[in-house]
């Protein structure tokens, strides 16, 4: 290790300061919302940065949970997340495995079809008309099926399967194991890392999804949590803020309730974040293999 000069030390100092400021700016909005959600409406109006609640209370959470619809929305989101992940794993792995075998007919043509779907798409309106023609409007299936077969998931799974030496599969076939058995008893157990990555990836995206539910689902009791949040926080804020602006009012009162609503949808992800983060990073590496 060489001796650091004065200018090097200055560089390091500035660099570390810059990164600390970035970290603070990244976290502060989350922290601020968390503090608001745990504050009494009176405390929320006090000056200061609100890095922690002065007199923590779950009052706002109780009020939010007392609203009709939120429990159902939470349940719907949980259901679509679990169901969505199951379907992604099932359909993607079953399609990806044959494409990883060199003898599979029309393999490269089929891969081109998958890649092209990442470069071009029909767009929102043809997709909506398709869902309607299939009779899936207002059905949970409209949220589950379209995402079950994305090209990206398929390609990273196929690349992973392809890296498994074919000899392992061949030896199992000589033993009389069928293709499906070779797949379930050899390939899948060896592929847990990629399955975990795809499962977590699609799990988080199902938990976060809202747009498909907004256009395909009309019944309130089938609605997802994200849209509940959107309706009670964003649409309300928009209306209130505009109103406040027009009236030159400076404050509005529902701040703590909105913060609690946001936190209810945030906390489940925040809880699993420390555990799933490294899988996601690994997934980026798997996905960046050119194939």
């Amino acid at each position: 290790m060489h001796h650091r000069t004065r200018s090097e030390k200055i560089f390091d100092g500035i660099n570390i300061m810059a990164l600390l400021i970035l970290a603070f700016l990244t976290l502060y909005p989350f922290l601020y919302t968390l503090t608001m959600s745990l504050s009494t409406p009176v405390d929320a109006k006090l000056p200061g940065l609100h890095l922690f609640p002065m007199r923590p209370t779950l009052e706002s959470y109780e009020k939010v949970f007392a609203q009709s619809g939120i429990a159902q929305a939470f349940l719907n989101t949980a259901l679509r997340t679990v169901g969505g992940v199951a379907l992604v794993l099932l359909f993607t792995s079953l399609s990806a495995y044959p494409l990883s075998r060199k003898s599979f007919p029309h393999r490269s043509l089929i891969m081109k079809l998958y890649v092209f779907s990442m470069l071009f798409s029909g767009g929102l309106i043809p997709m909506y008309l398709l869902i309607r023609n299939l009779g899936l409007l207002n059905s949970m299936w409209a949220l589950l099926l379209p995402g079950a077969v994305s090209a990206f998931n398929l390609i990273i799974m196929r690349n992973f399967f392809q890296a498994i030496p074919e000899e392992i599969m061949d030896s199992s076939k000589i033993d009389g194991a069928g293709e499906l058995r070779a797949f379930t008893s050899i390939v899948l157990p060896l592929s847990l890392p990629v399955l975990a990555v795809v499962a977590l990836w699609s799990g988080v995206s199902h938990w976060n999804a809202w747009f498909d539910a907004m256009i395909y689902i009309h019944d309130m009791d089938k609605q997802v949590l994200q849209l509940f949040v959107r309706r009670t926080v964003i649409e309300e804020s928009d209306a209130l803020a505009t109103q406040a602006e027009l009236l030159h009012a400076t404050t509005y009162s529902k701040e703590t309730l909105k913060a609690a609503t946001v936190m209810i949808a945030t906390l489940p992800i925040l809880c699993v974040y420390p555990f799933i983060q490294r899988f996601f990073v690994k997934g980026i590496m798997l996905g960046s293999v050119k194939g």
Binding site: L49, S121, P126
Partner: protein, 305 residues
């Protein structure tokens, strides 16, 4: 293969019949949800009658496209979209590259990992959640005004002012994506041969010169790939983000192609919406092809295909 003809193909079907059976359910669903909508694009060239279906509706050529460019809403949305796209390429695209380089200069690995873990965080939330957080944070009584208050600034309702809208879109996009985006660049930096740096230090090269002459050239191929991968989405400037941050007062500057299409869907103006969609995705496809060709002209080993 080609010479042995149909017989060989059929034989290969027969010997792969179980694989084909495994493959088909997912593949058919893929065709249904990816390629059938591409067929649905035809309604952009037809007078769509719901009862007649796509096939039975009469052709009208480019009528809807002419209407798009003659009417007001679409060209305004297109202009806003291009402005936001260019701003994002200027500020959001380089941000993770800068972050990766800064992280690469940090020697304390626990500090670096902590910064990484923190900056990845916003990537894991939907823009509904982030929008909810930002409406609280950027409101008149919000945390941002509280920070600015210490520096003597008057509070502002940030999301209401049309003049701040693009700045907020750029800043919050960086907030959401910079950490996550830095992963690929950081991985590329980790692959640089440390003896290059040692030799540069021995030659007396300063920190900046080492970054300029070793670090940057090492990640240029990754930057090229990321640019190529993103260019096809040039006109997709972040619907989720903009839709969840837009207010009644900013809708004029915030109306983009995607919100235009959504409005056409909600007003059941399917042909116009589909035409705007086709315009957007065709433009994206052409950009990717063109950019890939340009990159290959410069260095034929690069490019995404």
């Amino acid at each position: 293969m080609r010479h042995s003809g149909i017989k060989a193909t059929l034989r290969s079907y027969a010997s792969n019949k179980y694989l084909i059976l495994m493959f088909l359910p997912g593949f058919l669903m893929f065709l249904l949800f990816q390629y059938v909508p591409m067929y649905g694009i035809l309604i952009a060239f037809k007078d769509f009658k719901i009862l007649e279906g796509i096939m039975g509706s009469p052709w009208v050529g480019f009528k809807h496209f002419q209407y798009l460019f003659a009417g007001e809403g679409f060209t305004d949305a297109l202009r806003n979209t291009v402005i936001i796209a260019l701003l994002k390429y200027a500020f959001v695209f380089p941000a993770p590259i800068v972050l990766a380089i800064l992280l690469n200069e940090v020697r304390l690995s626990w500090f670096r990992r902590s910064i990484q873990t923190i900056t990845y965080l916003p990537h894991f939330f939907s823009w509904v959640i982030l929008g909810g957080i930002l409406f609280t944070f950027l409101g008149r009584d919000g945390g941002f005004n509280r920070i600015l208050g210490y520096f003597g600034f008057q509070p502002i309702s940030w999301l209401i002012e049309p003049s701040y809208f693009y700045g907020i879109i750029v800043a919050t996009d960086i907030w959401q994506s910079v950490g996550w985006g830095s992963i690929v660049y950081f991985a590329a930096l980790a692959g640089i041969d440390p003896t290059l740096y040692e030799a540069a230090i021995a030659d007396g090269a300063s920190r900046w010169r080492r970054i300029w002459h070793i670090t940057l050239p090492a990640i240029t191929p990754v930057i090229t790939i990321m640019l190529l991968l993103s260019i096809g989405n040039f006109l997709s400037v972040g619907f989720d983000q903009i839709y969840n941050l837009m207010t009644a007062t900013t809708s004029k500057v915030g109306d983009i192609l995607d919100t235009y299409v959504l409005r056409r869907l909600l007003t059941m103006n399917y042909e116009l919406g589909a035409a705007a969609g086709v315009f957007s995705s065709t433009f994206g496809l052409l950009l990717v092809i063109l950019a890939n060709r340009l990159v290959k002209l410069y260095d034929k080993d690069q490019g995404i295909w």
